[in-house]
Amino acid sequence: MRPFNYLAPTRLDEALSLLTPQAVPLAGGTDLFLRMERRQTQPDTVVDLKRIPGMDGVEAVDGGIRIGALALMETLAASPLISDPYDALAQSARVVGSIQTRNRATVGGNLANASPAADTATPLMALGATVEAADAGGTREIPLDELFLGPGRTALREGELLTAVRVPALPARAGSGFQRCVRTAMDIAVVNCAAFVQLDEDGVVAEARIALGAVGPTPLRAPAAENRLEGRRFDPAAAEEAADCAAEDARAIDDVRASADYRREMVRVLTRRAVGNAFRRAQGEA
């Protein structure tokens, strides 16, 4: 690893002023230090955000929640604000890395790292989340669907910092589900999938959102699968059809972790299961 300057500001505006093009922000460091060790990133300066107060909490805001970028995976997994209503998100946070990783890794880092397999990205997409991006000029909101541009690439501008994640209020008769497929217990997802459904008073799907991980250059929405569900009541055939559509939506490739064929097949299986979980929760069964 190349030597670097280490700065640990205690105010956000100070941190933003330090984020020059040769600087990188540091949260948990579980991705950053690996990249630095492999010389994929060689910053002059590392700006540690952990001493800035108030960036690591989960709070109720406007009926929804606002999660500080520095909130730990373990915080997401344990927060009562998350673990009941936003079940898919809590489940995804519970399977990231090891216990040690989860006590270090942050949600902001998981998103800003822009891995196609990021476990919290798909549930947050399915839940309709946005992120707050701040720079010296102010703060803007970016829908999560628009954040990811490619592996390791986001819509964050130079000098812009992901400061929080906002998840909108959970409507009545809504639920989510998360599924993932791995090689061993502690693994990057071979495929992950999150589903969200909102039912109207008659139990018909008013809105569905399905997001797929590790089957494209970024976490993906599965629009064909979502369309297939909307206007339908829950039945196994509906979930099956949506799952088939999701397999079509996936842009899986062959790599050392799995073949494209297996990934597509797993998209089908996991989508059906995640949709089933989401329905059961929306119907108040789970």
Binding site: C181, T184, V256, R257, A258, Y262
Partner: protein
């Protein structure tokens, strides 16, 4: 027994858990230590047309660059002299050594390594053993015919560096006698030991021409010999000091970076440390041989095996390494723990453009058992015989011989296998669909190497064991237990420290399940001799016949009159004034005849037929261990072996594209972690073994052998598909299930 057989914590455990143990990369010799870095081939097979080191040598901070030109032109190898330390004319795998550099810091060393320029003429490469046997395969060693070999090396041709054939009875007559004949092919890929501590060495070269090397090694004496041979130095001008070792599993026996560290230290005139990164360790050390296997078995309808014809192809890598020995051993072990009257076994050791494979824990064992025990399971199902029954029917017994004609004693196949089935059957099957059970049995032949050890009485009445044995997995504790048992003291009163090659009596390597067996024998003899010396000194004090004296509770006392006693402390002190002098003894054992150690495992699994995910619900491991000197260590060894074996069963494989390893990192080389580990129910079968100290058998290797077969058999029982290629991945299960559905709906 008082100390032997007790579950006692390891003698060095406090240092380990408090982080005080000094491992390879922790050693500090004083003064500035230079950072060494290897320069490795990026090509799997290429001719070297030029190596230019000037730019690297000119970089400020670089203290030495060494290449083939800096070391003697020695071609080495224990069975075939087919290896050169730095490649001179040709590279034969991705990772072949071109050069090494030493610099004042790591950054500079890395930069210097990048500045070494090599011109290559790339050649076609082959990474599969089977493909390397084809007549048109690229020849990896152009002048193989000129290489020196040991007499036991047979039938070399092209890339085949050894072909061992074993014949027993008349295999054709055996097949003629059979009611059914089964033939299957299996494949087990290369897998890596994945010890927690990557290879590292620190070398110093002093003014008198002596090299000192601190290194975590399982085999300090052979390593010393190898360094001396490679650098053409007198053996005792090389001193190897073994550090604590962060796991070896057979991967830390052969030299890796040590000769380079010495060559750099000599040229740079300062100590040099080389620490491998994980990627380098995965790609340049000594993993388990990939095997292609063909098993043809004839059986009677009652399950009696009449004949087996077995073909084994080991891809050994760019040099033969220990592959010749392992392929010869594979031939002997291939039929499994069964009495089979007619056998034809062909075992081929084949060069490939990959790292040289080594002696990973139970070398050849898991691959052979996967094939053999999968086929036994297939046969049992086809003949509708219980999997336990077919194994009991064919089990070998005392007096049976190995295929090489060695008569076997202390054989406990039936009892071990029966116990595994009984332990699994003790609980009902889990409820639900896609649940399956499987079992497998294996034997391992544990020999023993020549060893010596010393025991001395300290002047305070405690004892020390003098040994050169590296403690990998509790051997020091068990040796101390043996001495404490004989000498009538507690474990705390026996101190064990591993000395180095200059000062330790020659000790066996910590490998082959025989560290305790060999060294325990020497310690037992030395402790008994020390006891005799103590009795002799005490007899003068107590005015009693030495034969009437007993040792216990730190005292020597007269049999039947415990009030007539003298303390060991007093004996220790008075020995200095006594005519016999200080009390110390060094004793030796020679090579030991191999005994079979049997492992029988059973598992219950649940398979998700949609994702192919396998969940292990229960795992039973039964092992025939002779006397368990420390049952805590023995159980730990067995559980650890099962975990490593399960990784090989379900998730581990080194895979290659164009000769380059695809997954040289812990993200994509998937070992079992604590989160994957099922509880393992261990049962010990304890019958004292005639050839082990106090009846102990070798323990370390057998538990890694059955798991791949156990899992394959349990998966078949659960969902009805047979996986012939390791690892049994979810993807393979899903594909097999899809293929079966396609077959059923034409």
């Amino acid at each position: 027994m008082r100390v032997v057989g007790q579950e006692l914590p390891r003698v060095e455990i406090f240092e380990k858990v408090t982080g005080q143990s000094v491992f390879g990369a922790d050693v500090s010799p004083g003064g500035q230590v230079l950072h060494g870095k290897m320069v490795l081939s990026p090509h799997a097979h290429a001719r070297i047309t030029a190596v230019r080191t000037e730019r690297a040598e000119g970089l400020p901070g670089v203290r030495a660059v060494v290449t083939a030109a800096d070391v003697p032109a020695v071609r080495y190898g224990k069975f075939v002299r087919d290896e050169e330390y730095f490649a001179s004319t040709k590279v034969r795998y991705v990772g072949d050594r071109i050069a090494a550099v030493a610099a004042v810091d790591e950054e500079t060393a890395e930069e210097a390594a990048r500045l070494i320029e090599v011109d290559y003429e790339v050649l076609p490469a082959v990474t599969s053993g089977l493909e390397a046997m084809e007549p048109d395969a690229p020849l990896i060693h152009d002048s193989y015919a000129d290489y020196w070999t040991q007499p036991s090396v047979e039938d070399r041709r092209g890339n085949v560096c050894n072909h061992k054939q074993l014949l027993r009875g008349d295999v054709e007559a055996g097949f003629a006698e059979a009611d059914r004949i089964f033939e299957h092919r299996f494949h087990a890929p290369m897998v890596h030991q994945t010890y927690i501590e990557p290879h590292t060495a620190l070398a110093r070269f002093d003014a008198s021409g002596r090299a000192t090397v601190w290194v975590p090694t399982q085999a300090q004496f052979p390593l010393r010999d190898a360094i001396a041979e490679i650098l053409d130095m007198p053996m005792t001008k090389v001193r190897v000091i073994p550090t604590e070792i962060g796991g070896g599993f057979g991967g830390k026996i052969s030299p890796t970076v040590e000769p380079a560290a010495v060559a750099l230290a000599r040229k740079a005139r300062g100590p040099v440390r080389i620490v491998m990164g994980r990627g380098e360790d995965f790609q340049t050390t000594n993993p388990r041989h990939p095997f292609h296997l063909r098993y043809k078995t004839g059986v009677k309808l009652d399950g009696t095996i009449t004949a087996r014809e077995i073909e084994v192809v080991l891809g050994t890598g760019y040099s033969s390494g220990s592959g010749v020995m392992i392929s010869q051993g594979a031939a002997v072990r291939a039929p499994g723990p069964y009495r089979i009257p007619n056998l034809k076994i062909d075992s081929y050791c084949v060069y490939t453009n990959t790292p040289t494979c080594g002696a990973y824990r139970g070398p050849a064992g898991p691959q052979l058992a996967f094939a053999s025990e999968s086929q036994i399971d297939i046969i049992a199902r086809e003949l509708d015989i219980d999997p336990l029954e077919i194994r009991l029917r064919n089990a070998m017994e005392d007096g049976d011989e190995t295929p090489a004609g060695l008569p076997l004693k202390d054989v406990h196949v039936r009892e071990t296998v029966r116990k595994a089935a009984e332990a699994m059957d003790a609980a009902p099957r889990a409820e639900g669909a896609n649940i399956g059970r499987g079992m497998a049995a294996a034997h391992w032949l544990v020999g023993g190497m020549a060893s010596s050890a010393g025991v001395k009485l300290n002047e305070d009445g405690t004892f020390a064991i003098l040994t050169g044995l590296v403690d990998l997995s509790g051997a020091s504790t068990s040796l101390a237990q043996i001495a404490a048992e004989v000498l009538g003291v507690s474990l705390d009163d026996v101190h064990v420290r591993t000395a180095d090659t200059d000062f330790a009596p020659h000790s066996t390597i910590s490998a082959g399940s025989q560290a305790l067996k060999s060294m325990g024998g020497a310690v037992l003899l030395a402790a008994r001799d020390v006891k005799r010396q103590i009795q002799q000194v005490a007899s003068d004090k107590l005015e009693a016949d030495p034969g009437d004296l007993e040792l216990g509770e730190h005292k020597v006392f007269v049999k039947g009159s415990p009030e007539r006693s003298v303390s060991l402390r007093e004996v220790g002190r008075s020995a200095l004034e006594h005519e016999r002098g200080p009390i110390v003894s060094t004793q030796s054992v020679s090579r030991l005849i191999p005994h079979p150690a049997v492992a029988a495992h059973a598992a219950e699994v649940e398979v998700d037929p949609e994702t192919g995910h396998v969940r292990i619900l229960r795992y039973v491991a039964v092992q025939d261990v002779g006397t368990a000197v420390n049952p805590l260590s023995v159980r730990g060894q067995i559980q650890g072996g099962v975990m490593q074996g399960l990784g090989q069963a379900l998730s581990e494989a080194c895979t290659f594209t164009d000769g380059k390893m695809d997954n040289p990192n812990l993200l994509d080389y998937k070992i079992f972690s604590a989160l994957d580990a099922p509880p393992v129910e261990v049962h010990l079968i304890q019958h004292p073994c005639a050839t082990g100290p106090l009846g102990a058998k070798g323990v370390g290797e057998p538990p890694i052998i059955p798991p791949p077969a156990v899992i394959a058999n349990a998966v078949h029982d659960a969902v009805g598909v047979r996986i012939h290629e390791l690892p049994v991945t979810p993807e393979k299960i899903v594909r097999a299930l899809q293929a079966r559905r396609a077959e059923r709906q034409p």
